[in-house]
């Protein structure tokens, strides 16, 4: 019965999409032989119907071919495949290659934008880029300097360029874009520079700006309708953001939008999350700091907000709410629901109704999470939907210039941007996670445009009294809110997962391993050590009748900062210093694509 319902909802989706004219990308995404968008599909499931590689034969996987990107910084995101062409991007300077899959990856064209290197130092945490997008015969690149460029997918010629932000005040970009209908939707980075976040829609054909929705500020600039936009079922009311800030702090208030986008074409809604409020010192910004740390559902055409949900009101730990929102249609209590599941930096996994914004499940997806006892799920309660903060771990209650110790998770979150995947076959989410805790001491800072605006010192270390490693790869049941199984990893798992119809789940590790595990049991079936640590996302495609698995290696990003020299636990005393694994003992810089297949 369950299967039948899933099947029919699949049909509904396919027909709704056909009704939209000119939607080349929808057609491309429906073809499992391709990987037409970074997130796998609009639902962000990162699931492929390809099933040549199975749990039985994945142990025979071999490297088919490799490609060096020529850049030695953190490689996030992954390649796209459209037809017989693969599109590979790099970190700054954001080179894009079009590779001919029929000729072992021969370079068809290469595009290297001219960017001012002064954008590099205003990028927090390495010069990563999470990949290009495809739509309507164009490859769309959102550069580090916030230039959005549309390239002719066949020739690499520039069709249009749009400038989304100003690096001189710390506005940069690391994210991919969402091409949807006749628009390209883009975000912005710079929460550590006091940037005021926003999401902007550009016309896919001309690059003209269509709408812009700020994360914080006046209602009209946020594209909020005080009566119609809801938070947990109730209208947000007038000036819902401004009322939650003191003075003009919102103008440098963060809420940047550097995560992933998803879309529900039936509902005409797009979903994304907003980042941390600026600064990291909570005492400098009293109030709930709405709508930072918020999942937002907006109308694709107009940008008007349908609903918000703020996961971490008045952040005290840098738990950016930017992680991906994964859309699924599943049965709850005998009823099919349109769900949105997200694994937040704050260590809670949320299952929501994506149409209404109703909160259904909120549970810890790592048992060490300790800053909260959980979310108030009583709709009649005054604190409905709010996490209950544990005083001991509240950096606000402990105050400025006080070092709050033993907070789990650390600022990098139980999960950062590295996307999870979902298999409709197992109805299970596969989640790359961090298992790291921290000490956090906020203090007063002053704002200078274009300069870091942080205001806290923190030290991070592996979760105490656990397996000693800094990561886990987990399987999650989003209806029950439970971990099904968990694989301990020595380092944070900073690679996006891939689930396939062969009932295999793939992910990469910071040591550089590509791993394949059984989708049901988590049993490891295969591993191969690539030349550098993996912070990229695993993808799959079919070419000439054969299934391939591909992933970028190239250690860096946040992971490359914290883990390069290893972490220490100052609470362990001198004896333990240096006792934890140092990533630089395992891997060196790299920039390589590795492509795997079964032997002929």
């Amino acid at each position: 019965m369950k299967k039948l319902q899933l099947f029919t909802s699949g049909i509904a989706l396919c027909c709704a999409s056909m009704a939209l004219a000119n939607d080349d990308l929808m057609t491309q995404m429906d073809d499992p032989k391709q990987w037409a968008i970074q997130t796998g599909d609009y639902e962000n499931q990162r699931y492929s119907e390809l099933d040549e590689i199975t749990a039985e034969n994945v142990g025979d996987l071999q490297v088919a071919w490799t490609f060096s990107t020529g850049v030695l910084r953190g490689h996030e995101g992954g390649p796209l495949v459209i037809g017989d062409v693969m599109y590979v991007h790099t970190p700054f300077p954001n080179t894009v290659y079009a590779l001919d899959l029929s000729q072992e990856g021969k370079i068809i064209w290469k595009y290297e934008p001219k960017q001012d290197p002064n954008v590099i130092p205003v990028m927090c945490c390495d010069t990563v880029n999470r990949g290009v997008a495809y739509a309507d015969g164009k490859i769309i690149l959102h550069q580090a300097d916030t230039t959005v460029v549309a390239l002719d997918a066949e020739t690499g010629e520039v069709e249009w360029e749009a400038v989304n932000g100003d690096p001189s005040i710390g506005e940069t970009n690391t994210a991919t874009v969402l091409p949807v209908k006749d628009k390209v939707i883009v975000g912005i980075s710079g929460g550590e520079f006091g940037v005021r976040g926003h999401v902007t829609a550009y016309d896919l054909n001309s690059g003209e700006q269509v709408w812009r929705a700020y994360s914080v500020g006046p209602d009209d600039e946020m594209l909020v309708d005080p009566e119609k936009t809801t938070h947990l079922g109730k209208p947000v009311g007038e000036n819902s953001s401004l009322n939650s800030w003191e003075g003009d702090q919102w103008k440098i208030g963060g809420g940047t939008t550097w995560g992933w986008f998803s879309a529900d074409m039936e509902e005409n809604l797009m979903y994304y999350g907003t980042g941390n409020p600026s600064t990291w010192n909570p005492a400098q910004r009293p109030g709930d700091n709405r709508w930072t740390m918020t999942v937002m559902a907006r109308d694709i055409d107009t940008g008007m907000a349908k609903w918000f949900y703020q996961m971490t009101p008045h952040d005290e730990w840098d738990y950016d709410g930017v992680n991906e929102n994964i859309l699924t249609d599943q049965e709850i209590d005998g009823e099919m629901r349109k769900l949105l599941t997200r694994f937040d930096r704050n260590g809670l996994a949320y299952t929501m109704d994506r149409v209404s914004g109703e909160l259904l499940v909120a549970e810890k997806f790592d048992p060490v999470v300790n800053w909260t006892t959980g979310v108030d799920m009583d709709p009649d309660s005054e604190t409905y939907g709010r996490p209950q903060v544990v005083a001991q771990y509240s950096t606000l209650q402990n105050g400025e210039d006080v070092n709050s110790t033993g907070i789990c998770p650390a600022a990098l979150g139980t999960k950062d941007q590295q996307p999870a995947s979902y298999s409709p076959r197992t109805q299970t989410f596969y989640v790359p996670t961090n298992h790291v805790c921290m000490d956090y001491e906020p203090f007063r800072v002053s704002y200078t445009a274009g300069q870091p605006y942080v205001g806290a010192t923190l030290s991070m270390y592996p979760a105490p009294d656990s397996h000693g490693g800094m990561g886990n790869f987990i399987a999650w049941d989003n209806i029950k809110g439970e971990i099904k199984w968990s694989i301990p990893e020595q380092f944070s798992v900073w690679s996006g997962a891939l689930a396939t119809a062969g009932d295999v789940v793939f992910y990469g590790t910071l040591e550089g391993h590509l791993k394949a595990v059984d989708a049901e049991t988590g049993e490891q079936l295969y591993q191969f050590k690539t030349p550098s640590g993996i912070i990229g996302n695993v993808m799959t495609y079919e070419s000439d009748g054969k299934q391939y698995i591909a992933v970028l290696s190239g250690v860096g990003g946040w992971a490359g900062i914290g883990l390069a020299a290893g972490l220490t636990n100052p609470n362990d005393g001198l004896g333990a210093v240096g006792g934890y694994a140092s990533l630089s003992d395992y891997t060196a810089l790299g920039g390589q694509l590795t492509v795997f297949a079964l032997p002929d």
């Binding site: 030695l72 910084r73 953190g74 700054f92 300077p93 290197p117 002064n118 590099i120 130092p121 205003v122 927090c124 945490c125 390495d126 010069t127 550590e192 990291w280 070092n403 000490d439 001491e441 203090f443 007063r444 800072v445 002053s446 200078t448 300069q451 870091p452 605006y453 942080v454 205001g455 806290a456 010192t457 923190l458 030290s459 991070m460 250690v555 860096g556 490359g560 900062i561 914290g562 390069a564 020299a565 290893g566 972490l567 220490t568 636990n569 100052p570 001198l574 210093v577 240096g578 630089s584 060196a588 810089l589």
Partner: protein
Amino acid sequence: MRPAIFSFIAATFAVTLASGAGAANWSDQKVDPSAEQPEVPVAYEEGGRYFTEDDIPTYNIAEDGTVDWMTFSGFRRYHAECHVCHGPDGEGSTYAPKVKNSAIHMGYYDFVGVVVNGRGDGNSIMPHFGDNPNVMCYLDDIYVYLKARGMEAVPRGRPAKKEPKSDMIAEAENACMG
């Protein structure tokens, strides 16, 4: 007073320093703590700050591990402003050098010059912090902390014991931060 003058002098020299040694990634230009390091030994103390005989700010670690206030303050400021590139405890990252060693190898004036003015080396860029009070008002703090790290005079992590903040340091901080 002295440190302010030094900063000014360093800033005027800094242009010539920009073409100096490249900032290697994930580098490990080792420091030998047993070798003679003229910019390390304390010659005198003034209002809770410690200086070498050449009037260069330095750290002071008591036998029981108590660090001077500037070293502690440098730990705090470093882990707010610098560690997102240079890694925890000055240990470097995949793309920015181990500054704990740079603090020894470069010397005070070069170090200050690069922080004030920044420098570039291909795709490896050190930003300029000259107009950032969160860095400039704590530049000597960060410098002595990293020097202490480079000499392994303080272990990784948060210094457990520290001297109190002197009135003179507090006054200077307030004046600088405004």
